[in-house]
């Protein structure tokens, strides 16, 4: 019962408190952070690279780096922003080591969660494709703000930009994504072929 209570207490601790314990050498606390963030990080990488295999490797790399560089975590710093900074660096290093990964083929990325209808599957397939066609720096800022729930200030600090610049960049990225998406929706890759392919990929 006591063990159960201790576990519940640990699970409810804020990220920053857990990270401070990791910093002090309590490695087990990293497992709690892993359970909280492996899925958001995995989706972050999937949306950036479209490659599930590379994304899984990158998630592992992030947690290895957190352990390795745990002393660089400063008390009072938001953990999530610090973690995404590490995640970003890991991805840049991965790109340098695997330049071929840039020429990724979106069709290789299977979707795991089935959607309700063929129309939704088709829309998701086109959106994913459009996102991957966006220039990398725009894709990154859009993913960070839209999906990873980071604040403008955090993104600005991470990318070394002014807050205003971040807002403008997010807007430009969104508008460009919209143009690509509209082009794809009316192009030859639109339904039914895309929807059929997406359906086949569902697992």
């Amino acid at each position: 019962m006591d063990a159960h209570r201790a576990m519940t207490k640990t699970n409810s601790l804020p990220d920053e408190e857990l990270m401070l314990q990791v910093r002090e050498g309590v490695g087990e606390m990293l497992a709690v952070l892993f359970d909280r963030y492996q899925s958001p990080l995995f989706n972050f990488y999937c949306r950036l690279t479209g490659d599930r295999t590379a994304s899984e490797d990158l998630v592992q790399d992030v947690f290895f780096r957190i352990l390795k560089y745990r002393q660089t975590y400063r008390p009072g710093t938001p953990f999530r922003a610090w973690m995404y900074q590490i995640a970003r660096n890991a991805r840049i290093d991965y790109g340098r080591k695997h330049p071929e990964a840039i020429a990724f083929e979106p069709e290789m990325s299977p979707s795991v969660v089935p959607t309700d209808s063929a129309e939704e599957a088709q829309q998701a397939a086109l959106l994913r494709k459009a996102l991957l066609m966006l220039p990398e720096e725009k894709r990154e800022v859009l993913v960070l703000s839209r999906f990873q729930e980071l604040k403008y200030e955090e993104i600005a600090r991470m990318l070394d930009l002014e807050i205003g610049t971040v807002k403008v960049r997010i807007h430009r990225a969104l508008r460009e994504l919209r143009c690509i998406f509209e082009k794809l929706s009316s192009g030859p890759l639109a339904p039914p072929a895309a929807a059929e392919r997406e359906k086949e990929r569902l697992q």
């Binding site: 990293l30 492996q38 995995f42 295999t53 290895f64 352990l67 969660v113 703000s145 994504l177 086949e200």
Partner: protein, 267 residues
């Protein structure tokens, strides 16, 4: 409100994080401006991108890494790298220590035979070259097998691709590929393993292994690739398995259709 002002507030507006007054101004602008409204709709549309789940063995990989770190192995490795022992670091990162030793021994042996070959007279040259070739093949086998056991899926993929460099059909490699086909957590690795197994399709053990693999598969992509291979191999023993798939209502409809097509082709 101008379009520039709306652009600055876009994500806050869409996520309803604005104070009531600003929210009302933004809504009013979106109702009047077609472009800005379309931008806001695009932001909402992104929510239809499905969440993906990491593979179940991701947690185990993390635990292994954490345990290894806590045992101090990673610290030692980092120290080795700092000292500039790049070869040792490469061996440690690419292969498990026992395999690294085996590889080192093989390399030494190849070097020794090469030395003998060039320093001695030319009698028996052909035999020595044959021995060297055989050692090289063993070395390639070791590399391919060790890569197939790596934790990282991309390294296992490299292992599958590397196995093509083993020119002679090798039972250990085919067994490792079959294992990858049946049990690897990554669909990419399973598909690549299946591709490489085509080289071994005349081997009765591999044929039997492929039939077993069809029963285990959950991924529609791999199931379809297997059905296609059975048709290509004219494997009549597969018909019973295909019939079971075709009649199983829990199986993906596309796979069931493919199984039906397979049965027709094999009849």
């Amino acid at each position: 409100m101008t379009c520039e002002q709306f652009a600055e507030l876009l994500s806050d507006y869409c996520e309803r994080r604005l104070p009531v007054r600003e929210m009302a101004f933004a809504r009013e602008h979106a109702e009047l401006c077609l472009q800005c409204r379309a931008d806001a709709e695009m932001w909402q549309k992104l929510s239809s991108l499905p969440q993906q789940e990491p593979s179940p063995d991701s947690r185990t990989r993390f635990e292994n890494m954490l345990n290894a770190y806590q045992e101090g192995r990673w610290e030692k490795k980092a120290l080795g790298r700092e000292r500039g022992s790049w070869f040792a670091a490469w061996m440690q990162s690419a292969f498990a220590p026992p395999l690294a030793s085996a590889l080192a021994a093989c390399l030494l042996l190849v070097g020794f035979i090469a030395g003998e070959h060039f320093s001695s007279s030319h009698t028996g040259d052909n035999q020595q070259i044959a021995t060297m070739q055989s050692e090289l093949t063993n070395l390639r086998q070791l590399v391919a097998l060790s890569m197939l056991e790596q934790q990282s899926a991309s390294q296992r993929l490299q292992g599958v691709n590397y196995s093509t460099q083993v020119e002679r059909p090798d039972p250990e490699i085919s067994a490792a590929l079959l294992h990858a086909l049946r049990f690897d957590s990554s669909v990419d690795v399973r598909l690549s393993a299946l591709d490489e197994l085509r080289r071994y399709k005349t081997d009765p053990q591999v044929r039997a292994g492929l039939l077993n693999a069809l029963q285990d598969q959950q991924s529609p992509l791999v199931q379809i690739a297997l059905i296609d291979l059975f048709v290509e191999m004219r494997e009549s023993d597969a018909k019973d398995h295909l019939r079971r798939i075709e009649q199983d209502s829990k199986v993906n409809p596309t796979v069931r259709q493919r199984a039906q097509w397979g049965i027709e082709q094999l009849s």
